[in-house]
């Protein structure tokens, strides 16, 4: 399929409140898409256009974009305003695009109104390849010029002073691959801040694949199988990266792991896409050609693939079809090679999901105290993904010293160590009231921090450091002579209240968000968003205090974060290293700078923060917070976070599981760890055709897109006989969910003890002490030595060291030995003894205490269960039990929900087509994916409706023989009152999650 082209724009047309007729662009051809962009200065005005044009974006009635497919006949349109008056400037312009399949269908439109100099356009995400993304901007004031939104190409910036003036500006992006089109601003020069409207429109590139594959007699293109041996990009067709030219038969299998226990699962696979293909040899352009045995022999030095590893190169497979628009390909597999093995006269290529392999590594999330930090399952899943190199949101940049995505906990990913705060965590969420709030963020979840009046609990849901400094990971200094540069970036919510109307007033709040780096000698770097003063309310700032506190420079941006309930990028950076003396403020891509020089000699030589600093606080919803140090902190040399291209490696709906704590006592395979949560809420967990990890919980199935029937399986058109059956062996009507009920504690207690008759020789000795009770916080890392003459400590860490193994010798004091906790995790602590006595020492005493007691906040668990029974089902067929043990559930509500969902899923016979080992054979269609809703029609079995979901999809091709074998499961056709399901939809918690793109 060809990518779309920009053909050109016609001349602009302006008038003082009169109809305008902008010329069509030159060089148009039949089938081109013509877009008309028109606007009137008066917000009360409405626009009408010549018949035949369709509205593709309506930005308040007075600014609209229209589309029409050129037929070589129609002429320049006329746009007529109404509802205005003389002085209301009218402007319009046309532009044309060419591309097979371009239609006036709009994928997504997002608009925003604001009063500003520049014009902000929100981001959109497209779902189909080859779309045209249009950025549209209007301002109620004219200008000298306007620059395109970053990353797009300017169409034009027509403006006029006919009437009281206005300006239009538009730019475009021609997408090859579907994905996100970031938001950004038209940077306007000249004129004044005024009312603006910005919109982003994605125009569909219609595929005719569906229509073509549904017709009789499809004509297939050779299957594309591509790799990248040298990791330098695909070299092109007929090169050694082109495996399709060698391929004979091939197969790709996708499973939907439905999360059900194996004994009742309808799917045998594990949610991992796998590929297999037979390869022959390859004739090379400059060589004689090699047989498969020669070409793939690891010993043939004349083979083009000699020396390349055969288990790491990436791999894709696309199935192509001749359509009326030319060959069109659909991706069926993305992953990496697993092996190429010689089998007789051919070679067997195998591939597997690359992200699945990434998730094969062991991860151990740090301890997270849910009471203080929040601990939704989302955070654990996002952490396990990120630790494996698969990201839900933009990853940390080089030099990052703090990264908190806020995906269900404020605990950062960087640093990811276990915390040892005493008397409160850095994250003072709700002061330990276990009431963290999370909302839909720009990428996944976001921390729903909002300033709360005292009557509602005071500083609830608000990050502050308290008396404990904000943790920073290793890296270059941020606020010293060794490194006086840094960058703070985040997405922050345009909260719809300003200072004066904030709920119950704002008290003494002076900043909405703030990153303070106060040094012990009085110097400081302070940045954030101002509050308190009305004139600068919501505006970003960067201040430095230098000369050991004697001098001060401030820099406040002119653009504040609007009150529009949208997510906005906020970036603040400074660089005072070498000859650099510069500060940057970035709001949604609009960058302001300041070059005021200062003397940096008063800053400490190396990082030396004052007590309880640095600090970070925020009183608005926020997500994706990063602090970067070093060279990458300078935006002149390295891009802002928002400008770094990012394609999510995972797609996730918010989890329903809320944890008490995150207290993993040992490393676990990331895939298994995430899968345990999926099983605990019956979420679909799989790697899809693009190798994107999907974690799709019940909320996924209620979205409108999942109610769309994506294809027909019809024994009269494309399918073999349908083996419909009800498998009574999978019926379960009495469910027991066993789980470990967890409890958090605000109090410290002894969580680990040690005594030993083994002597510790002089010098340093390190050993690992397993904790008797998993802990989510240890009380200090320095161990107090106790002579065991008083009362045994019960909530502080202590050690009794003695010169004799039975404790009857001399107790050792701090001058003779030092005991430290070097590191810890919820399951163990690493202890170091520095024996300075010159003789053996023993962890011992003669009063019966444990010789070493580690104090911390425990993660208590109690094994229990939840059960649910379908009495009606049990009455007719007897009790059929399903005992399930889930390790990912910590709260009773989550266990009960799982029991209920299992009951409603399994208590009645469900019709399935195909089982774990067989399926229904359908003529090939590469678009089929597990989870899709399909219609099935078969006169023999009487099936004729559209309530079926694909469970397994196995593609198999060889020449013109292309089959897709699917297993299909019937969705429940009735509403079961009290059990919360309509088909595969959910009524209840989380069913109203808002899609940040569609607003649905």
């Amino acid at each position: 399929m060809s990518d779309p082209l920009f053909i050109g724009m016609g001349s602009e047309a302006h008038a003082d409140y009169a109809a305008v007729s902008p010329n069509l662009p030159n060089n148009m051809a039949t089938g081109d898409l013509v877009v008309l962009f028109a606007g009137c200065r008066n917000l009360a005005a409405t626009l009408a256009v010549t018949a035949g044009w369709e509205v593709i974006a309506d930005l308040g009635g007075h600014v609209k974009a229209y589309g029409r497919i050129y037929d070589s006949l129609f002429t320049a349109p006329t746009v007529t305003p109404s509802g205005g008056a003389a002085g209301d400037t009218m402007s319009a312009q046309c532009a044309a695009f060419r591309g097979p399949g371009l239609t006036v269908d709009v994928l997504r439109t997002r608009a925003r109104t604001d009063t500003a100099s520049h014009i902000f356009c929100p981001p959109v995400t497209t779902s189909g390849n080859g779309a045209v993304v249009l950025y549209l901007g209007w301002r109620q004031d004219d200008w000298s010029s306007a620059a395109a939104v970053a990353g797009s190409t300017l169409i034009d910036d027509p403006f006029s002073s006919l009437g009281s003036d206005q300006g239009l500006v538009w730019s475009y992006v021609l997408q090859t691959q579907w994905g996100s089109a970031p938001g950004g601003s038209f940077l306007v020069t000249g004129g004044s801040a005024a009312l603006t409207v910005g919109a982003t429109v994605a125009i569909a590139h219609a595929s005719v694949f569906a229509a073509t594959v549904g017709m009789s007699g499809p004509l297939w293109m050779p299957t594309r199988i591509r790799t990248d041996w040298a990791f330098d990009g695909y070299d092109g067709d007929r090169t050694f990266d082109d495996l399709g030219r060698q391929a004979g038969g091939w197969s790709v299998t996708h499973h939907l792991d439905d999360g059900l226990p194996d004994e009742v699962s309808f799917v045998a696979g594990l949610g991992v896409a796998v590929l297999a293909a037979d390869l022959g040899g390859a004739p090379e352009i400059s060589g004689p050609g090699l047989s498969a045995r020669a070409y793939w022999s690891p010993l043939r030095t004349d083979s083009p693939v000699y020396g390349y590893d055969r288990d790491i190169a990436n791999l894709t497979l696309d199935v192509g079809l001749v359509t009326s628009l030319g060959p069109e390909y659909v991706r069926v597999f993305t992953g990496q090679m697993a092996d190429v093995a010689l089998q007789g006269s051919t070679a067997a290529l195998s591939g597997i999901s690359a992200n699945r392999l990434k998730l094969s590594g062991l991860v151990q999330p740090p301890a997270v105290a849910g009471r203080y930090e929040g601990a939704r399952a989302d955070w654990v899943i996002s952490y396990a993904l990120a630790a494996s190199g698969v990201y839900l949101s933009p990853p940390a940049q080089p030099g990052c010293r703090f990264w908190a995505p806020m995906h269900g906990s404020v605990h950062p990913f960087i640093p990811s160590n276990n915390r040892d705060a005493v008397g409160g965590m850095f994250y003072n969420l709700g002061i330990g009231n276990d009431n963290s709030q999370w909302t839909t963020g720009p990428f996944h979840l976001a921390a729903d921090f909002t300033w709360q009046p005292a009557a509602d609990g005071g500083n609830r849901d608000y990050v502050q450091n308290g008396t404990h400094p904000m943790p920073l990971g290793d890296g270059e200094d941020l606020a010293s002579q060794a490194g006086l540069r840094g960058k703070l970036e985040m997405w922050i919510f345009g909260y719809p209240y300003d200072f004066n109307s904030f709920p119950s007033a704002s008290g003494g709040v002076v900043t909405w968000t703030r990153f303070q780096q106060n040094n012990a000698n009085g110097t400081a770097v302070d940045m954030g968003l101002r509050a308190l003063t009305t004139s600068n309310d919501r505006k970003p700032y960067i201040n430095l205090t230098y000369n050991s506190g004697g001098s001060f420079i401030s820099f406040t941006g002119t653009t504040g974060i609007p009150k529009d309930s949208q997510w906005h990028f906020l970036g603040l950076a400074y660089d005072f290293t070498g000859s650099n003396h510069k500060r940057w403020i970035n709001v949604d891509g609009v960058v302001e700078t300041d070059n005021t020089s200062i003397s940096t000699s008063g800053f400490p030589a190396t990082e030396a923060y004052a007590s309880s600093y640095p600090r970070f606080s925020c009183r608005w919803p926020v997500a994706e917070v990063q602090v970067t140090a070093g060279a990458y902190a300078n935006p002149d040399n390295f891009p802002w976070l928002r400008d770094i291209p990012f394609t999510p490696g995972a797609r996730m709906t918010p989890s329903l599981i809320n944890l008490v704590n995150v207290a993993e006592t040992e490393p676990r395979e990331a895939w298994e760890l995430i899968g345990s949560f999926a099983q605990a809420e019956l979420a679909m967990f799989r790697a899809d055709e693009a190798d994107v990890i999907n974690y799709l919980g019940p909320a996924w199935w209620v979205k409108p897109a999942q109610q769309t029937v994506t294809g027909q399986i019809d024994t009269a058109r494309n399918a073999k006989p349908v083996p419909a059956e009800q498998d009574p062996t999978k019926i379960r009507n009495a469910i027991r969910v066993s789980y470990d009920l967890a409890q958090s504690s605000t109090l410290h207690t002894i969580v680990g003890t040690y005594s030993s008759e083994l002597g510790f020789s002089p010098g340093l000795t390190t050993f690992v002490l397993p904790l008797s009770t998993p802990a989510v916080e240890l009380r200090g890392l320095t161990v107090a030595l106790n002579d065991a003459t008083g009362i045994q400590p019960t909530n502080t860490t202590y050690a009794t060291l003695n010169t004799l193994a039975d404790g009857t010798g001399t107790a050792v004091d701090a001058t003779q030995a030092v005991v430290s906790i070097m590191s810890w995790h919820p399951g163990a602590a690493t202890i170091q003894l520095d024996n300075r006595t010159g003789a053996f020492l023993y962890f011992a005493n003669d009063v019966g205490w444990p010789a070493l007691g580690i104090a911390g906040k425990p993660h208590y668990t109690l094994s229990t269960f939840a059960e649910d029974t379908d009495e009606a089902s049990a009455a007719v067929r007897g009790a059929r039990s399903l005992p399930v043990t889930v390790g990912a559930v910590q709260r009773e509500v989550d266990a009960r929900r799982l029991a209920r969902d299992l009951k409603s899923t399994l208590s009645r016979p469900v019709v399935v087509i195909g089982n774990s080992s067989t399926g229904i054979e359908v003529d090939g269609d590469p678009r089929r994916q597990p989870g899709q809703l399909v219609g099935i029609s078969d006169a023999e079995t009487g099936i004729d409706d559209e309530l079926w979901r694909l469970q397994t999809v196995a593609h198999e091709g060889e020449g013109a023989k292309y089959r897709t074998t699917v297993t299909v499961r019937r969705t429940l056709p009735i509403l079961v009152i009290g059990q919360g399901r309509i088909g595969r939809t959910l009524i209840g918690p989380n069913s109203t999650v808002t899609d940040p793109e569609s607003g649905i």
Partner: protein, 308 residues
Amino acid sequence: MTDTSIYLGRLGSLTTPGSLLVVPHPREVLQSTRARLLDVFELGAGGARVDQMVGGARTYTLPYNGLTMATFARLQAYADGHEGPGPFVFLDPGQRNMLPVDMSAATSNTNGTDAFAVTGTGCVIGSSSLITDAGPRTLRWTFNSAAPGSGAALTPVWPSSTFAYGIPVVLGRPICFSAYVRGGGIDQIVTYTPQIVWRTADGTVVSTTSGSTLTSDNVDFVRGFVTGTPPATAVFADWKIAYTSGASSGAIGFWRRFMVNEGSTPDTSWVPGTGVWPVKVLNLEEGWLGRFPDFRSGPQFVLQEDTS
């Protein structure tokens, strides 16, 4: 048709006198069927659905009553590896149009433009269904600039990984490239120059032969052609249609019936082409009558096109 010889040889040897094998014509029918993969999918409700692949490949079967040992030995050298591993060039005089399917059919096979490339400022090609009297599609060359530049040209994209630079040529054997064009768009009168580009085995241009210019008409298709005899070092014959003059922004040329035929003039009638592809020897049946061991009786020489 001036040369009915059947040629077989290594790539490059066709331009080297003495190493070129002129294969004897068989007494019986030379089978050259081009197979396209089909799959019949039997439907659950009865009936069938037929899938097909876009490509195809010929199998050449040359049945002989008998061959002398000397002649047989030259075929045997290809069959048994004495002429190297191949693949080999096989020029069938029965295939008059030597261009591959989607090229000769002007995009009608796939509705896509993968067989063609265009250069020049503002030049765009597409597969057009506007004119259907000689096939469902034509290749549309649109000029979006009145100054496409002197280098503006339409060129082929050869589909074979082995014959990557054109059609293998035989020293002294002329060939002719031809195609038809009709004007369209804003300006329907544009002048073009058809060319044959002679190339070495690695694609290096040896020389270019230009034909007479042709000017598109706004009503009828006009044929342009160029004839040439391969220079001594040429291995491949490539073609080009160069823009010469006359384009205005919005001009369109609809191209169809591309053909390369053997001879010094374009064939009167266009015929479908399926391309000249490398071949490998699939089989050479061997046997001799008693008392005549130096005479091969009833050999059958089978070659298979390799279209990868």
